[in-house]
Every structure is written in structure tokens, then in C-alpha cells.
């Protein structure tokens, strides 16, 4: 048999054509997104620092023009990951819907967790939330935001967050979105191992427990902020 030389781009296209390839892309982009969510959580928790300006300094550090290249590189990578994740998910969803044109009169879900079954809904809602979140706190196009005014772009994160969450509707939406994110992460994290071919009777139960722990940690950590604001524990 002669050796067929396949161009790397063709190879990537063929790889992606297969559903397992798409799932692998979702898993890989999922890893990036999970990492970002966790880093974001660590950033958020600085609001509890005894030093009230801590979180604003952190924001100023991120927005320092000296770090602009790194910031935009990270933002681009994140955006690419989000787009790939969503495109692959949408393609799979359409393909999978087409695989059963006529549904059942009665259908039960036996073991699939609520989280697993609702990935297709928690995903878009979380995506919508992200857009809202960026418009709210990054672009300031939802509610008025303040700038400390040291540099061209040094937002007063502490004020913006607290002012925003004093609006119960905004706080409620954040909490709702975080619960969905929690579910999405729970199924998504252990599932990415399965998609990448990692499943072992000894380790998989631990992977599932760790996914749950991580997902809950993210949700509890993030939800604590609007709750703290609403209950008056966190004030400007």
C-alpha cells in the first residue's frame, strides 16, 4: 500500500468531521473555560479582602497598558474557545436531533442526571449570562459604572459590583446563572474526561466527585457575593 500524505489541515478537518472529534474539541475548549472560570472566581473573591481597594488594584493590574498584549491574547484565546465550544455543541445537537426524527410517546430518563440532560439549555443560558455580565461590568452598558480615574481605564470594581447587586433583579439573575453554571460544570468536567477517552472503574467515581466539588465551589463562591450584598454584609 502506498503511503498517503495528508495535509495537516485536511487531517484537522477530518478529525473535526467526526462527532468524537467535535466532542474532543468541546472537551479541550472546556478545559480552557473551566480554568478561566476558576481563575475568575479567585479574582472575584478578592472583594472580601480586608483591604477594600484590593480588587480594584487587581483590576488596574489587569488593565495596565503594559499588560495589554497578554490581556488581549488571553481574551482572544477565551473567545476562540467559547466560539469553538458553542459551534461544536450546536452542530452535535442538530445532528443528534436528526438522529431520531420521530420521538417516543413515553420516554423515561433512567440514570442521566438532571445536569446531563439540561446541558443543552444550561449552555445557552450561561452564554447569555456571559454577554450580560460583560455588558454589565466590562462595558458598563447595563447600569452606570464608576471609574477610579487613575489611569484611562481603572474601573471601581468594588463600587460597580455592589451597586449592581443592590438591584435584586440583577443579583437574582447572577445567582440563577451560577446555579446553571454549576450544573453545566458538574456534567462537563467529568464528561470531558470520558470524551477524551479517560474512564476507569477506579478513578472515574473520583473524577465525578471532584467535578461536583469544583462546580459547587464555583457556584458557592460566586453566589456568595450577591447574597452578601443583598443581605447588607458587603457594603461599599
Amino acid at each position: 500500500m502506498s503511503t498517503v500524505v495528508v495535509h495537516p489541515i485536511h487531517r484537522a478537518v477530518r478529525f473535526y468531521e467526526a462527532p468524537i472529534g467535535k466532542k474532543a474539541v468541546m472537551a479541550a475548549t472546556g478545559v480552557i473555560l473551566v480554568g478561566y472560570v476558576f481563575a475568575h472566581l479567585l479574582g472575584n473573591l478578592q472583594i472580601y479582602s480586608s483591604d477594600a481597594q484590593q480588587i480594584n488594584r487587581y483590576a488596574a493590574f489587569l488593565h495596565n497598558p503594559a499588560n495589554a498584549v497578554a490581556l488581549w491574547a488571553a481574551r482572544s484565546a477565551l473567545l476562540a474557545a467559547v466560539v469553538l465550544h458553542i459551534v461544536a455543541a450546536t452542530q452535535l445537537w442538530l445532528q443528534n436531533r436528526a438522529a431520531r426524527p420521530q420521538g417516543y410517546v413515553k420516554k423515561k430518563d433512567v440514570p442521566a442526571s438532571y445536569a446531563a440532560r439540561t446541558m443543552v439549555w444550561s449552555g445557552p443560558i450561561v452564554a447569555a449570562f456571559i454577554v450580560f455580565h460583560i455588558m454589565h461590568l466590562t462595558m458598563g452598558s447595563v447600569l452606570p459604572v464608576r471609574d477610579i480615574g487613575l489611569n484611562p481605564n481603572t474601573p471601581d470594581v468594588r463600587w460597580n459590583v455592589i451597586a449592581g447587586f443592590q438591584n435584586p433583579a440583577v443579583a437574582g439573575f447572577y445567582i440563577f446563572a451560577m446555579i446553571l453554571l454549576c450544573m453545566h460544570l458538574y456534567h462537563g468536567i467529568w464528561s470531558l474526561f470520558q470524551s477524551l477517552g479517560v474512564n476507569h472503574p477506579r478513578y472515574t467515581p473520583w473524577i465525578q466527585k471532584a467535578s461536583a466539588a469544583l462546580a459547587i465551589l464555583v457556584a458557592v463562591g460566586n453566589c456568595s457575593i450577591p447574597i452578601a450584598v443583598l443581605s447588607g454584609l458587603l457594603t461599599y
Binding site: 477530518r14 466532542k23 436528526a98 410517546v105 477524551l196 477517552g197
Partner: protein, 253 residues
Amino acid sequence: MRITLHIWRQENAAAKGRMVRYEVPNVNEHMSFLEMLDVLNEELIAKGEEPVAFDHDCREGICGMCGAMVNGVAHGPLAATTLCQLHMRHFKDGDTLYIEPWRARAFPVVKDLVVDRSAFDRLIAAGGFIGVSTGSAPDGNAVLVPKEKADLAMDAAACIGCGACVAMCPNASASLFMGAKIAHLGLLPQGDAERDQRVVAMVAQANAELFGSCTNMAECEAVCPKGIKIEVIARMNRDFLGAKWSGRGTAKE
């Protein structure tokens, strides 16, 4: 026992089907589910109505011919059981049961509860074998197989090809079926040589058959009459990604 049934009736592949209600007043708890359908059919014949068509053969849970959704679960409510091995003692007097055929684009309905599962055969033909022609085998003990591997291979090889995994999967994916064959053959030293091309060819065939894809719901595992685990799907994913990464096994694509 008295059982009320709602059964999918469909004249042929082209016809439109519908659920039809039947009463079976004299069900014995020791009957198998299929024997209960036999009783219904005898009554229908006596009344001059066409009996319900359903696939079945060995009636001991190994041929994989039988299967239907019972109240929304493939092969009914008892885990690790085919329809023929499901006995009526697991139901209560007065129960209402909805019986529907497997539904998937790749498994078109032929009549009533009978579906066409030939897509499974084509998956095997694509690569679900070890390419050894008769006569070329070395002595059976020439290649040793560690017991653990042989046992794992046997776990996967127990698949009966009934299609419950596809029927139950929210995406009508055949991943458990394919994974089982890929794991069975790939775990054995005899099947290792063709591992890459096997997975690549079978995955390509599954796409051509318009099966859905795996989204790790594990519904298949829950209804598999032979208790095959989704570990085999992870193994398939691993083999596939490995083959694609290395560029091996694409000759058949």
C-alpha cells in the same frame, strides 16, 4: 393479573402508525413479557384482527432479536434484562404499559414493533472483526492473554446487538455497541494490529448510518441487557483520538 397495553401499530415502513389500546385480562405472573404478547396475539387472531408483529427468537436473552420500549425504557423496567427474560411478576395487576418500537433514524420501523437494525451489521462489516482467514491461525496457546484482559474483553464481547442502547440514547447514538466491539477486539493481542483502522472505519460508518453521537448521558449503560459499561465508549474515543493524532488507520476512510 389484568394489564392494559398501548401498543404502536404500523402497517409497514411507509404507513403512519398510532398507539392502540388493548386489554389482556388473564396474565399469569410467571409469563414472560413476550408470552404475554403471545396471549394477546392469540386473542387478536380469534377476533380476526392481525396480531402484533414483534421480533423475537431465542427467548433466553442471548440472540438480541427482541426488544421494545416499555413505558419509556428499553427492555422494560428491570435492569440487565431483555424483554424475553422480563417476567410479568415484575408488574402489578392493573398496570398500564406503553409499548413502542426502537426509534432512531438508523433503525426504521418495518412493522408494528419490528425495526430494521441492519445498520449494526454494516458497522461490523466496516471493521468489527479480526482479519484472519481460515487456516492461518497459530496454536491457541501460542499467544498468551492475561486473565484480566480476557475477562474485560469478554465483558465487552457479551453484547447481543439488540439495539437497546441506540433506542434509549437521547441522541440515538450507537456508541455503546461500537465501543463494545472495539473494546472486545482491541483488548486482545490478536485484535491489536487492526485497532486504529477498525475504530476509524467504524466511526465513519456510524456517521454514514446517521446515528447520533455520544454526549455521555449513560442511558445506554442503564438499559444494556448485558451490563456493558460506558468505559467501552471511552476506549473507543481514546482509540479514535490516538488513531487520528498519529494519522494511522486512515487507509479505509
